[in-house]
């Protein structure tokens, strides 16, 4: 009997352990709070909290920027906001459709969820399979999470909430539909995943590295005072832009040279990664992914029709 009781306990205890994101909002500028995630990969240990989300407390209510990787995260985020202000959440802005940024939407069904039209289309197309993959990678943290599509189409331009003039930029380098938000009152730039800092960038939906590089130039030219990357620490200097430009240029050249030399994908993923990127988390893992996403395009550019049907 005692053994049976012990057995029951040992089986049920892990299930009882509460999965808690323990979100701690950090004030990074006037009215502006950051929930900083780790720069690791999705894992059961972090529940998918590998992402930076934020919120701005205005006189007219709270603006939320990205909702995190799961229903549980979205709910924890709302609690964290309530711990900082009594003002209601009035607006959600999604920077893009990736699961770590948009699967907390369920907790914000009562407010307008704004996104670029392309973001809504991509989330509609890919949301379920991305959520499925997160269930596989982070497990029980995802329980009950379902895709909720944005309810409001954002256009580039000014969005004023309270005394905060938010400049919305429609860019494309990371997913084809990337929203960047510059708070003109505080100078805080929420760059979404157009900027990764100390964490390797991801390319599953990138239209091309040249597009991304152009976006980095656009962002750097804005009158920002603080950069909030989608992943990695905030910065008040241009270091994240310099790192992005360096990494994107290196990756583009690597793939270009590989295709010109006839290297195959499996050789490309073993390419040496320069020492100066040693501090960037997950660079090998993301190189493997980027080669899969981008290399076929580079390869085709280096081959020509050789079949007899193409001969004159």
């Amino acid at each position: 009997m005692r053994w049976i009781l012990l057995l029951c306990l040992s089986v049920s205890l892990p299930a009882l352990a509460e999965l808690d994101y323990a979100l701690k909002p950090r004030l990074i500028a006037e009215d502006t709070w950051l929930l900083e995630g780790s720069t690791d990969n999705f894992a059961k240990a972090n529940g998918g909290n590998i992402v930076n989300t934020g919120f701005i407390v205005t006189e007219a209510g709270v603006v939320v920027i990205d909702t995190g990787p799961s229903k549980r995260y979205g709910e924890a985020m709302r609690q964290a906001i309530a711990g900082v202000t009594a003002k209601p959440v009035v607006q959600v802005l999604l920077t893009h459709h990736h699961p770590d940024h948009a699967l907390g939407n369920q907790a914000f069904r009562d407010v307008p969820i704004g996104a670029l039209a392309g973001t809504t289309r991509l989330l509609h197309e890919q949301g379920d399979s991305m959520a499925e993959n997160l269930y596989r990678m982070v497990g029980d943290w995802m329980r009950g999470t379902e895709v909720v599509l944005p309810t409001q189409v954002l256009e580039p331009g000014m969005l004023t909430v309270g005394s905060h003039d938010l400049r919305l930029l429609a860019l494309a380098g990371h997913t084809g539909a990337d929203l960047a938000i510059l708070d003109q009152k505080t100078g805080v730039l929420f760059a979404g995943d157009l900027v990764f800092y100390q964490r390797a960038l991801t390319t599953p939906n990138s239209p091309g590295l040249a597009v991304w590089l152009a976006d980095i130039n656009t962002l750097q030219g804005l009158p920002w005072t603080l950069i909030v990357p989608g992943h990695g620490p905030v910065a008040n200097d241009g270091a994240p832009f310099a790192q992005m430009r360096d990494y994107l240029t290196w990756l583009d050249q690597l793939l270009r040279d590989g295709a010109a030399n006839g290297s195959d994908m499996s050789e490309m993923i073993r390419s040496p990664i320069p020492e100066r990127f040693a501090a960037i988390s997950l660079s090998r893992y993301e190189l493997i992914r980027s080669v899969s996403h981008l290399y076929p395009g580079y390869e085709r550019g280096q081959m020509k029709r050789v079949d007899s049907a193409a001969q004159p």
Binding site: E132, N133, R136, A260, N261, G262, D264, M265, S266, E267, I269, R270, I288, R289, S292, H293, P296, E299, R300, Q302, M303, K304, R305, V306, D307, S308, A309, A310, Q311
Partner: protein, 253 residues
């Protein structure tokens, strides 16, 4: 003993030598199916697990429909009869049967579909009758074999079947030859679409002499990508045939 018997005996001697005492060593990957595949793919012939056969794949499949695989048996250069590769836990495990002849190095790159995390194997038969088995593991979210065709979603894809993109890249004492063939490579696992795939490829030199023979199987990805390393110069011809009898032809300068 007459000469016929001598011949037969001579042919069997190397095998007989291995038959009793060859120690295959320890399987480097966890596999529940080795015995089955040893019988099915290698006919229970003598084998060793051999790290000199490098089977290189990413640790995980970012796209389970296009997994790059590199088979490097250059350690056995000049002694390779054939190379057979398969993915153990695929519903259609067999990938390729590759027979490099003179001038073609025992090296091949190819892209494949995988249905789930699986051990991968490349078995190299050397001229002494022994199979050398290279192994690796790949993780995957899965579904690569049963996912709907990407090719078939492109309007007018039928017009492009058999088109070949190619290139040749000098690499010191040999050159790399790469081709990509437009073909849906239907594996019969997507509802309502029967098997339709390229099942044979041959490389020839300018004089029509065979450089390599390949049998391809439905685990090979859509729009197959192949790369070979070839010694010596001269145009190379690629002849392809699919299981519907279509023949395609390309010449790589």
């Amino acid at each position: 003993m007459n000469w016929r018997a001598c011949c037969v005996l001579a042919c069997w001697l190397p095998l007989a030598a291995y038959g009793v005492d060859v120690d295959p060593g320890k399987d480097p990957v966890p596999s529940v199916m080795w015995d089955f595949y040893h019988k099915q793919m290698l006919g229970d012939a003598p084998f060793v697990f051999d790290q000199r056969v490098k089977l290189l794949a990413p640790p995980f499949a970012e796209d389970a429909r296009q997994v790059p695989l590199e088979i490097d048996a250059r350690a056995f250069k000049g002694r390779v009869v054939k190379i057979v590769a398969w993915a153990e836990l695929n519903p259609l495990p067999k990938i390729v049967d590759f027979q490099p002849k003179a001038r073609v190095l025992p090296w091949l790159s190819i892209r494949i579909r995988i249905e789930q995390a699986t051990p991968l194997r490349a078995a190299v038969l050397t001229d002494d009758g022994l199979w050398h088995v290279g192994s690796t593991l790949i993780d995957a979210a899965g579904g690569g074999c049963t996912a709907p065709s990407v090719v078939r979603t492109q309007p007018g894809w039928e017009e492009h079947i058999g088109e070949v993109l190619g290139g040749r890249y000098p690499r010191g004492e040999f050159s790399r030859l790469r081709v990509q063939v437009a073909h849906p490579m239907d594996n019969g696992m997507v509802s309502g679409i029967p098997e339709f795939f390229i099942n044979h490829a041959q490389l020839q030199d300018q004089a029509g002499q065979v450089l390599a023979d390949l049998e391809l199987f439905p685990a090979v990805s859509e729009n197959p990508n192949l790369a070979f390393d070839i010694e010596g110069a001269g145009q190379t011809r690629l002849v392809l045939r699919d299981n519907s009898g279509n023949e395609f032809d390309a010449a790589i300068p």
